[in-house]
Symmetry: C2
Subunit: 631 residues, 2 copies
């Protein structure tokens, strides 16, 4: 009954096939020059008028007849009479008939009776802007297929052109489909999915020069999808259906395109982006985009953008590329081209790139990304410390000042990022959530500027230093306190299980949700276990991991876990109860070279700033009493 993917075609082959088989005939329209930045000319434009349209003074001064001034010199000043010998003239003024040069106001002496004296001759046509100096009638002003920029408008207007034939923007209709899909502004009942993809797709299309139209949401109903597609085709150059492009029992996109026209392929050999459909109806391109947002946006860029660029006669823009050192190993499957979103920062003279969450559903990975790592289909990925090419989402000039924070994550790090940008817009901050242990080793390897760490050492009862000494022996680093924060049990409102000590988790077999290995909070939990003479086997759900405090709270709020260990603000975000357990020290580990940089100085200034401290403490569960003190 259910179909599986028809194909697993390399992306470039898919595009070639698709481009060759579909057409988007160009239409043109006339537009007002003044409103045409970013638009593309339909044909070459030739100047109608010259600019300047007359011989004009290029300086303030006097217009003279050059051949009457040849005798003037220092020794032999020449006196000129108004009207017959010279005329006053300002920059831009028309040269009077019979006058062919301008002498600058600085070079003349005013005498009585309106006469002037000059000490040097004028050469013919000096300081005169000839007719057509800027634009000359008949010359090519802008070619066809030219995307207009502000100075182009100036030249067109100067050339006497106020209306211009432009390529009409290609019209693209986006059909959001899915019975579970609702308007993003509506209340979200369980099982509904807000349609944010249409907004993102429309924004991209607009940016690329198309005119997007979003169709109302269509439920999973063949007849209705067919109707929507048929209607959209009447007035579109390209139709995008999102989603239903997979092979599930409610995925009708394939069927409808095939019924009305032709499917060229279903499934490309990429991750994300695999369940893409490329087809045509009445010769017009139809794209079935995957439902997962990252897949959808990538596939859009691979297949819709080239069609739009071809229509507009523009090259498909290439992203700036940068060589960076991989902070972590990135593995991939052979046979699939994979696209990994990366953070990139400039640490100790090298660019360092780290992978973000690779899930096709994790839109945040696109928001956080500084660039993209493309892993070709024929490789298994890249090793840590390997040099790789990153396609940049932000200009390299910005990434030079991008701070990389690794290690444990805390909301304060996000606030620091916002505050530092406020002080110096050139500086930004990207976070890799590696856990405290991962953070220490990233700083140690010179692959992060700083790391949040909160590792309790039961032997010394000290935080962080014992771990750093062990992991980075002999290495000079700096440890600065950021905050003390309260760790505790995150439990449903009202604490129905009356959780207080860890023993209860075991006794009541409460469904627990754990943090990932290497996280300070996990190490704390293991310490509590040992103190209570318990083992992981006693905890139901010990193996179930999340990477952030907020995700722990989310699981408890969703009812799939009864308890988790985390911080107060996370519990508050989900209106859960919080049972305080232990106050822990949360420090920032800074590499020595970063510590001595102006960026670190700004960072520490912020941490020590009274307003910033107040802002953090107001969130609850934090004490900033030692914030900014070296530990």
């Amino acid at each position: 009954m259910r179909k599986v993917y028809l194909s697993n075609i390399p992306r470039q082959d898919a595009l070639k096939k698709f481009s060759a088989a579909v057409e988007m005939p160009r239409r043109t329209e006339f537009g007002i020059v003044g409103n045409s930045t970013g638009r593309v000319t339909a044909r070459p434009v030739f100047a109608r008028l010259s600019m300047p349209g007359y011989h004009a003074a290029a300086m303030d001064g006097i217009a003279v007849q050059a051949d009457k001034t040849f005798s003037a010199s220092d020794q032999n000043p020449l006196i000129l009479k108004p009207e017959s010998d010279f005329r006053n003239i300002n920059t831009g003024g028309a040269m009077p008939a019979g006058f062919d040069a301008v002498i600058k106001v600085e070079d003349i002496h005013l005498l009585e009776g309106g006469r002037v004296e000059i000490l040097a001759p004028a050469t013919p046509w000096q300081h005169v802007r000839a007719v057509g100096e800027d634009v000359v009638a008949g010359e090519l002003v802008v070619p066809a297929g030219h995307r207009l920029r502000p100075p182009d408008l100036g030249v067109l207007l100067a050339a006497g052109i106020t209306e211009i034939e432009l390529l009409e923007k290609p019209r693209v209709t986006i059909i959001p489909s899915g019975s579970e899909v609702i308007d993003p502004g509506l209340d979200r009942e369980k099982g509904t999915v807000p349609d944010f993809n249409s907004t993102v797709i429309a924004s991209y299309l607009l940016e690329w020069g198309a005119e997007p139209v979003v169709h109302p949401i269509v439920p999973d109903d063949v007849r209705m999808i067919r109707g929507a597609l048929t209607a959209a085709l009447k007035n579109s150059d390209l139709v995008i259906i999102n989603a239903g492009s997979s092979a599930g029992e409610k995925d009708f996109t394939y069927r409808v395109i095939e019924e009305l026209g032709e499917v060229f392929l279903h499934g490309i050999a990429t991750r994300p982006g695999k369940p893409t459909i490329l087809g045509q109806v009445h010769g017009k391109p139809v794209i079935g985009l995957p439902g997962y947002p990252v897949s959808a946006y990538m596939s859009l860029e691979w297949f819709a953008r080239p069609l739009i660029c071809r229509y507009l006669g523009l090259p498909v823009p290439q992203r700036e590329k940068l060589e960076a050192t991989l902070g972590r190993r990135v593995v991939s499957e052979v046979g699939v081209e994979e696209f990994v979103r990366m953070t990139v920062g400039h640490v100790g003279g090298r660019y360092i790139a780290n992978p973000l969450n690779r899930g096709a559903g994790v839109t945040m990975s696109l928001v956080r990304a500084d660039g993209l790592l493309v892993i070709p289909a024929n490789t298994l990925g890249f090793e840590q410390d390997e040099i790789v090419d990153i396609e940049l989402y932000r200009p390299q000039s910005e990434l030079r000042h991008n701070l990389l924070a690794a290690g444990s994550h805390d909301l304060i790090i996000d606030l620091l990022g916002t505050a530092i940008k406020e002080r110096d817009p050139r500086i930004s901050l990207s976070s890799a959530h590696l856990g405290s242990m991962g953070g220490i080793s990233a700083v140690g390897r010179g692959q992060a500027h700083l790391a949040g760490v909160h590792l309790f050492d039961p032997e010394t009862k000290d935080y962080n230093r014992p771990y750093i000494n062990k992991l980075l022996p002999g290495q000079e680093v700096h440890l600065v306190n950021l905050a003390y924060r309260m760790q505790g049990w995150i439990v449903p409102k009202g604490n129905p299980d009356r959780v207080s000590a860890i023993k209860q988790l075991a006794d009541l077999k409460l469904s627990f949700i754990n943090r990932q290995r290497g996280a300070g909070t996990r190490i704390l939990f293991d310490h509590l276990l040992r103190e209570a003479d318990l083992s992981p086997a006693n905890i139901y759900g010990y193996e179930r991991e999340e990477h952030t405090h907020l995700n722990i709270a989310a699981a408890v709020a969703a009812g799939t876990a009864r308890v988790g260990l985390g911080i107060l603000p996370a519990a508050r975000a989900f209106d859960l109860d919080f049972v305080p357990l232990v106050e822990e020290r949360y420090d920032l580990l800074l590499s020595n070279s970063f510590f001595n940089s102006p960026e670190a100085e700004t960072l520490l200034e912020i941490i020590r700033d009274r307003n910033f401290k107040q802002q953090v403490e107001a969130m609850g569960g934090y004490s900033m009493r030692d914030a900014g003190k070296e530990q």
Copy 2:
């Protein structure tokens, strides 16, 4: 009476002084998320809802309880009953209560009675998207001062945010001033200047994130300028007056700003851009921009853009830089920082940059420019073949395919540029008008791909080859005919002086306008002179030079010359008469490496294309009988 410049301050110092002294207080407003691409967030935004908001299936398949599947194996298939043991589920569907894993549709066998068989156990939470996998409630979604891109909108909507607090766009009023200035759509009487600067300035401001308002044109009248400025200040964060910023008798900008507020400086040490005024009124920044377009736009970028970026909390974008070899010497004055617009192409593995017309009034130089050469104030310029840094106006990836045409210019070269872009949008063509001789040597030095040449050799009666053999001895180059074209006298309508032979120019002392040294047309004229036993001294205006046929025609049309030598289309463009004199061969010289490139192949295909030939011949004065033939 007239003032001279008050200052000659380095640009960076001027900006520092200006930025420190003026303020543009921020305002915020709420906007619909869907319309907010390109806008800047006023404060950090935290997720209101999680995405997904419930535990959702990540695959099409069945939802199961993982701990009930542990016994399943190849040897020991497990049979599951609907409802109690499993539920059908599609990607995105909510996990039913009590179920904690999904088995993919590919991994199940349907049996009779709705039962299914599995051959492997499910691990808890496999193929389940946890609540908050993408966005988790409470997390920072976008920081403050963040310019929103399409995926940001997606994440905001996913996080349940449909309205967002944005920085209001800074309001900038542009006051065009000058009694000679008219609306660009009006008929141009002599002495009037169309106001195209306001359109260009407004387009730049819009691009940079501001909201421009163009005030009606104000004549050179102190009272009216004062009134316009006062009114503009009420509703603007920044006011720009264009122009009247110089020191002429009608330049009132300085006076008005000083009267109402304060002028910080008048005159910066740059070329173009010198006559800039920076001041404040009621603490608000006021900029007096120069009237010359190139000066105005550069000054706008130096002084208005940083203020707008500061208001928006964004770094001032840096242009991509490229190291290029200078094709020609570029000299400059010490003490002045100079900005030269450049063409850039990739010839024989190197990027080659050539200066364009340096006039502050030549807007076309900005249209043609691929980048900018900045000559620091403390240098005298750069030598030919020196490696210089070019700030790029177009991405380097495009310039890799930018063909450099040097030599003599003909409209056909422009048409070729348009036609080649039509065939392959990645290829573009930039022209340097060096004259035939300059073109041969540029190709010879590996600094241009091709050059237009039309050099008559009186000894051999041949075209071009004799010159190439002399200038590039032993060098392998290719010569391909582009067209034959008619050269003749360009004279006023009706040919009032009855010009036919060159002798008449001398006899009647007709005011002549000549082409620049090295131009084929000049060499032809010199040949005609020698043939008639005349010398340059016999020709009135022999020293007055223009660089193009169209500019020759423009001078004749303006009445400042009675006759020039040029081609028919130039005469036609100005509705002048044309007296045919000689048909000349106009060839393209191609370097050997370029000749063997795919780009040259495309170029030659176009030249030999029947439609292209017809298009050229339709302009008049051209014969394409040998077009594309090697010479």
